[in-house]
Amino acid sequence: MQIQRDTRGVELGPNQYEDAEGYLAPLAAGSGPRSNPLGEFPTGPAIGERLPDVVTSDSDGRIVDLHHDRKSQPVVLIFTRSVVW
């Protein structure tokens, strides 16, 4: 899959850029944190597949094995870009 970067948008003024959907940000669409894919992009495992294993540290530094930790409960797993910026 050839993934393209969405650079559509206009500069409205100093540190004022509008993307193709009209969202404003201080960076131009397609640069740094504003790098969105244009068209098709991978979204990982498909509906109907088992959620892949996730074993990593939690915010307290403890290692969490998600499938063990969830204790037979349904899961909402959110991949977010960053909680810092």
Binding site: Q4, D19, E21, S35, G44, R50, G61, V76, V83, V84
Partner: protein, 287 residues
């Protein structure tokens, strides 16, 4: 969160931040979900959702995922996914909850064949912050023996769908969420169409880009209007197309943002600037 607990679900948030940055975030927001730290993007890569449009030496941005959400059932099998191209928009909790619960199919009393299609339209959620999507939900009751059509349909038929008015400026529609269809081949011309039957729930995620806000003494507001269309047919004949308009006006709040600097809608300090510097420095020395 209590709603997710009540639905029996566990919520995990994974990012490429260091654990101590996540700990500060949790404390600043009184968050009680589990945060998973993936500073080398190993999990993100194993899911195949690393944002590869960012060059490897573009710090600190390289390493982030295409943001999205997976919902699983009690067996750990994925039952729903939420991904959109524009990271600026992300699903609201109402959408995730609906996916966790699964659409309840209510077996209502139905009148006999020939009864009309009934539709109820609501906006799920009581506000529309910038970039957080809510769903317009259309619930159809389709009488037994009748069906509605999914896109695409040949000329002359109207597929069931939700559309925004063009003047809903600043409100953007995203990928519709539709139930499973059944294939049906028309006896006349042999066209195979995808149909919905029974209690049908269509969902259209919408978000606003900040331009749709009206301001008055009571605060900021956003208006969303549009129409739901459908056409019900049975194996013999089709009824006239149906249409119902909707219009919602809800508070438009500012989205909670990280605290990288001063500004409206910023959250209490979580030492964002410090973590940002630390993360950038670590990533630069790694290469």
């Amino acid at each position: 969160m209590t709603e997710f607990e009540a639905a029996g679900a566990r919520v995990y948030v994974l990012s490429y931040d260091e654990a101590d940055a996540q700990a500060d975030y949790k404390a600043a927001h009184n968050a009680n979900f589990t945060m998973l730290s993936d500073p080398n993007s190993d999990v993100i890569r194993s899911f195949g959702i690393l944002n590869t449009t960012i060059p490897e030496d573009d710090h600190p941005w390289y390493g982030i995922p295409y943001p999205g959400v997976y919902i699983t059932d009690a067996e750990g099998v994925i039952t729903a996914k939420f991904f959109e191209n524009n990271f600026t928009v992300r699903p609201g909790p109402e959408q995730l909850l609906a996916a966790v619960r699964g659409e309840e199919v209510l077996l209502k009393e139905r009148s006999g064949a020939g009864a009309e299609v009934a539709v109820e339209i609501e906006l799920e959620g009581d506000s529309l912050p910038v970039g957080i999507s809510r769903e317009i939900v259309a619930r159809f009751s389709v009488p037994e023996g009748k069906h509605l059509y999914n896109e695409p349909v040949p000329e002359g038929l109207v597929a069931a769908g939700i559309e925004l008015d063009e003047q809903s400026d600043g409100v953007i529609a995203y990928t519709p969420v539709t139930p499973q269809t059944r294939s049906m081949t028309l006896s006349g011309d042999g066209h195979t169409l995808e149909v919905y039957e029974g209690d049908v729930v269509l969902r259209l995620p919408v978000a606003q880009n900040g331009r749709a806000m009206e301001k008055d003494d009571d605060g900021r507001w956003v208006s969303i209007s549009g129409r739901v269309q459908w056409q019900a047919c049975d194996s013999e004949a089709c009824g006239l197309p149906g249409e119902q308009s909707f219009s919602f006006r809800v508070p438009a709040e500012f989205t909670v943002m990280a605290d990288m600097g001063p500004g409206e809608g910023r959250v209490p300090s979580m030492n964002g600037a410090t973590h940002f510097k630390k993360m950038t420095a670590r990533r630069q020395t790694e290469v």
